[in-house]
Symmetry: C2
Subunit: 335 residues, 2 copies
Amino acid sequence: MNNKKIKLADLAKLAGVSTSTVSRALNNNPLIKQETRDKLQQLAKKHNFSLNTAASRLRTQKTNVVAVIINLDEQTEQSIGDPFLLKVVSEINLALNQQGLELLLSNSIMAQGDWANYFINGRRADGIIVVGQGKNQTNIEAAADAGIPLVVWGDPKTQSNYPIVGSDNYLGGLQASTHLIEHGAKNILFLGDPEHGEISERHRGYAAALATHKLEQHVISIDITSRSAYQAINQLLREKGLYFDAIMACSDMVALGAMKALKERYVSIPNDVALVGFDDIAMADISHPSLSTIKQNTQFAATLLVKKLIQQFSGEKVESQVIDIELITRQSSKR
Amino acid sequence: MNNKKIKLADLAKLAGVSTSTVSRALNNNPLIKQETRDKLQQLAKKHNFSLNTAASRLRTQKTNVVAVIINLDEQTEQSIGDPFLLKVVSEINLALNQQGLELLLSNSIMAQGDWANYFINGRRADGIIVVGQGKNQTNIEAAADAGIPLVVWGDPKTQSNYPIVGSDNYLGGLQASTHLIEHGAKNILFLGDPEHGEISERHRGYAAALATHKLEQHVISIDITSRSAYQAINQLLREKGLYFDAIMACSDMVALGAMKALKERYVSIPNDVALVGFDDIAMADISHPSLSTIKQNTQFAATLLVKKLIQQFSGEKVESQVIDIELITRQSSKR
DNA sequence: ATAAACATTGCAAACGTTTGCATTTATCTC
DNA sequence: GAGATAAATGCAAACGTTTGCAATGTTTAT
């Protein structure tokens, strides 16, 4: 085993050519004769050669790395372990890899405040994908103002100076609520945090559906975790009884937390209370009863995020884009 | 807004000193007078200066980056979206950040085969954390043979030439199975893939518990996903009826898939069939009935993985380490 | 006052690529 | 076969840090 790290110059010496030739050959530069290219590429493979990316990045000013920032509010408990967010991240990872880009994973802890300088001027990455708008967009706005390649997973209808890719949260909220109403619901709880970026749009959809049918809103503002949903529903049933017949939850995790509380008190789902979630995480299909939900097409979203980021690398201006959602009706809402 | 990227030399000119002085000052080198250090650090902050990491890495041969490889078999469906694995990754992310290290996320797609060369010689990272042993350890062994800093999340009792941190899977399997037996189970299914690294140990524990109580093994070998668990239990009930009274599942996701199949056929949990999972993901607590399980202390594991990796940076040899597991008894197994 | 020790800063080389330009070698034209 | 064009390769500078060593300024000991 050759424990000495091999570099371009070593290959060059072995092949009896200059380092420039090796460099160009490995980059498949047509300046180099095909025959020479093949020979050098094989030589490189044979010696398990791997470019020193530090040197390469210094010279080219390109990293081929994208920073992905999971953007969570400090206040809320919605943890970095949230299954939906992590699913989005892993889809992004796949989409980046397919473009030959690598993924530097960050959270708000590491990148304090000035993302543009830290990531871009610090040559850690060529661009940034922010996952989640959170309640506070100042960090994102500052980065966008600095003119760096940036794209955000969030609510695309938000007014912004940066491109946002995300589901049609308004339509999702509208469809979910309308679906419940069509199945006879009269008193529908909205369970979530209407202050939060994406979720406020879902709430708007909910409100619109209820207005159309002249129903009254019941907004229960909670942290967007299954635990607080569980606690909230428990408390509600204890203090005010079963005064509602449906719940539109702002996420599947929230819905599942609510479901547990209902089942524990023998409230029948969907007969006594119908339930719709949002996201379509794996558990929605596995829960019992299975959970109706608004499916977010994360895979498509991920490829789109990456595509829009790459477009910015070449100076293009890109716009926000809305992704279709889909109502998945399962057992929890059918009656 | 200053759109020109600022570098060390610019700061030096501004302050009327040499670049060496600035470099040392920003690294808090005691060679530089405290007063000068303070002044330069403030100047850097004022100009939002961020070191060009490419140059720095080239010069120092250090990246302060750790590659995290999610190690999945191509054959299995256990997806990169697996909630438990992602939870581990996010814990590792936190632990790394606390040490000032960054996390480069990779999967087996990007890093084809030769990890040592790709990541270490390619100066992408200083070390590697592999999440999951998978069925095939040749990649890991090759990297370990190359003598690079490496640590693996897996089953620590596996014979290996690299350090492994992980739960006591054997004991977990033993405790889970014993727990079921103590609650009266006579025919316990093992649901999982006994070929798979960590899971084979869980199976060994299961086998030992059954042997002690002179019970017969029933191993159902499946892909470790909730979907195949669901299908397997469905098929079993259809073809052979309810010939078992308990299930030890190799993971919570598998347990939840099984739970759904049972509930759909009105098999009572835990009365007809008691159920224990493994991992303690968030859903275990939220499912109904809540799922008894073996809790893996991922947070502690993550800090330990990082600690052992850092020790290798300074040349220390480190050993594998077993992490305590804990039986969490919830509704699914109490009767 | 002088030499020696110390504290502080600057000089310049090095890290390993990439690339504009110069140079060599091969091919073509008449 | 000579001159001109095209193809292939090499030279050397540059990317922005860090760091061994030299150089300067300051203090201490004699």
